[in-house]
Symmetry: C2
Subunit: 222 residues, 2 copies
DNA sequence: AAGATACATATTGTTGAACAATATTACTTA
DNA sequence: TAAGTAATATTGTTCAACAATATGTATCTT
């Protein structure tokens, strides 16, 4: 891979800039799970010192994107089946919490509707990568219904982990396809204030999605 | 304050050991909120290098116990009213999620019952610091009903933040007193499998507790 | 006296080299 | 082949240095 240097900008410290960049790469699946990241190599690659890189590693480790083994170094996280199950458990609790917390006519609902429609359009064009991005954004927005920065931060972490899983899969492309319609009807239920319906839609979505991810993960591990 | 050195042990890296120690101090209210922590001073205090300390700061910042302002340094977090409100929002979503997720006769229920009783006994002795610790432990355990390491981790973060708030208060002593009985009846409802009752107990608890903390915080800020 | 300016000082941001402690690899020998 | 040992590489941590930014102080102006 070609070296990347001068990531430093005015508003972002070098540490944060490199952390953002590595997070990007991780989410995009540019590393293989479990791969070792040597301090020497990586610091040379980004043209930064080992000391600075170690701060970066601490940051990403606290976000569960890297795994840290004392005296052995830092490795790309390799979420296994248990991790996926746990991630979906978090999603269920947080997203159900959002549905139960939403006041009818919450302004954020409008953004959700727009994203749901955007997903539909993109699905027609067949740009599945984009569909995935929009789908994630849809669910992120759902959690913002809670108006809770801490819940949103927690949710962002697990979504990033989930993207790490997607990066491991060969065929993550169609993983979002069947859910576009579910998103739309979920929004509809929320707009009507029909909490019970929204929850069952959500639960259906999460169960299906979890199964698909687990299956794809097992296929990939073969 | 007397210097503390040689925190290094076999199983804990120096960075982690110092992070743990500072977290302890923060939770115990040994620093004042908003207080600046200078790299020079603190690294000298613990007998570690600035580089290592910076890793520590990154860890604690990611746990919201410290606040980081670029080029200005690191400060003890000073959770305000908005933070408290948000913390209780997280608690409600996570703990309600736990109540809704619990299978009857979950082994963890036994630990909750034991903690509830322990709280009762300690209340009689009047050791309010211990009562507070046990109460926290009770609620931590409740979230463990989810069997989700990620949810527990998230909950641990907000509980630590909450303790930071307590540290700011003059009279945090009796802040746990009225809730001991509520904890006991909450366990009772869970053991009976009466989810609805458990949720309303929980909600009552959280609302009262939130109000008390907010009031005490405003008093302390005066 | 209040406010702006410029200088001096302290703090943070980052680096590179160094060395001890721990892992990994390669090699030797039974 | 297996075990043991030496050689090598990597991590853990420190230190000293310097640039960039922030803070404090003395000075000047009106």
């Amino acid at each position: 891979m070609a070296d990347e240097k001068n990531l430093h900008t005015d508003d972002l410290s070098l540490t944060e800039a490199v952390a953002d960049r590595i997070r990007q790469l991780l989410i995009a699946g540019e590393f293989s799970p479990g791969q070792k990241l040597s301090e020497h190599q990586v610091s040379a690659h980004f043209g930064i010192s080992r000391n600075t890189l170690r701060e970066v590693f601490r940051l990403l480790t606290s976000q569960r994107l890297l795994t840290y083994i004392p005296n052995r170094g830092v490795f790309v996280a390799a979420p296994d089946e248990a991790a996926v199950i746990d991630i979906y458990r978090v999603r269920f609790v947080l997203q159900r919490g959002a549905v139960q917390a939403v006041a009818k006519a919450h302004p954020t609902l409008i953004r959700m509707r727009r994203l749901a429609e955007q997903g539909r359009e993109l699905a027609r064009t067949g740009d599945w990568r984009q569909v995935g991005t929009i789908n994630m954004e849809f669910h992120r927005t759902m959690v913002e219904l809670c108006d809770s920065p801490r819940l949103s931060a927690c949710f962002d972490l697990v979504l990033a982990e989930l993207r790490l899983v997607f990066g491991q899969l060969e065929d993550s492309a169609h993983l979002h396809e069947p859910y576009i319609e579910l998103n739309a009807s979920l929004v509809a239920a929320l707009e009507l204030g029909d909490t019970a319906a929204a929850i069952s839609q959500l639960e259906a979505y999460l169960i299906k999605s979890e199964r698909a991810v687990l299956a794809a993960l097992q296929r990939a591990r073969r």
